[in-house]
Symmetry: C3
Subunit: 125 residues, 3 copies
């Protein structure tokens, strides 16, 4: 049973320019873990743009209630580099209200376009 779906497309160049222009934006949007690869290197603008798209897509899948905190949805790296979503706080509460029991996420970045799709899945009542 699907609770919601979200898609977001984010132009990498513009997003990377915002990160440069706005001090503190990177820390506001992303956890320390998200800002680095599993090997410890700082993530590129396109990799961060894809993670931003994932957070936007996740918010849309939850009906974009507007009171979600950026750090309460985190893109972590699973086996084979697969992106996974983990939620807490504001996002976990909204998800629980809607009956979300699992998350599916996919990221893409190529040719200057970052995008993400998120599906929030619930258990049939």
């Amino acid at each position: 049973m699907i609770i919601g779906v979200g898609i977001d497309v984010c132009p990498v160049e513009r997003f990377a320019a915002s990160l440069t222009r706005t001090p503190g934006l990177r820390d506001r949007l992303f956890t320390r873990a998200e800002q680095h690869t599993p090997a410890g290197a700082p993530r590129t603008g396109e990799s961060l743009a894809a993670r931003f798209a994932a957070k936007e897509a996740l918010a849309k899948a939850l009906g974009a209630p507007g009171n979600l905190h950026w750090h309460d949805a985190e893109v972590i790296v699973g086996e084979h580099g697969r992106p996974l979503l983990t939620v807490r706080g504001t996002v976990a509460r909204r998800a629980a209200q809607l009956g979300v029991t699992g998350w599916h996420v996919s990221l893409s970045h190529d040719g200057g376009i970052a995008s993400a799709v998120v599906i929030a899945e619930g258990a049939p009542a």
Copy 2:
């Protein structure tokens, strides 16, 4: 149980140019309600492009049978501005044939690219 999924990506500038170039296209594609925001302002080209992408994505989720009327799938605005799909006529009949019991839609427009994803969900038999 998923009946079908659809994605569509629509370049905003080209779509907006078609609306300008082709008299009547706006009315052919969109209901009166879709052409305006909940506050009554005319929708921008990018907002209409995203709605067009949603109708294309919905048609793909239904297997693109080719006899669906544009006005028979409508993007309405729910709580917090969330887009929702409502169907009637040709689209409702096709959906019923396939066993669709619910719709999930998400829209994105940024950097000149409008996109949408639609999932048609059915009840397990």
Copy 3:
């Protein structure tokens, strides 16, 4: 029950340039059937880019294990031109491990951007 979702966005021009530049790439990525339309015409660069995006999206839906062969996922053409996925060999084995029982795919190409979304569905245990 959803096993995984995948999205991929592929800039058509760059992909078409790779096909021209790299002899054998077309045959490595695509089966003979995929390289042609049902009417027998060679597929355009944008149509092949969308099929490449579908294979990438499918791999992401399976957790991108990295040992999947390109020909083991094939985009075939169903009723009304609807794209369908068929899998075999490396891809079928990975899908079976994860409990995938069905595939949903959608393709888009417009304005130089090809994209695809894939959902791998499983039966509830």
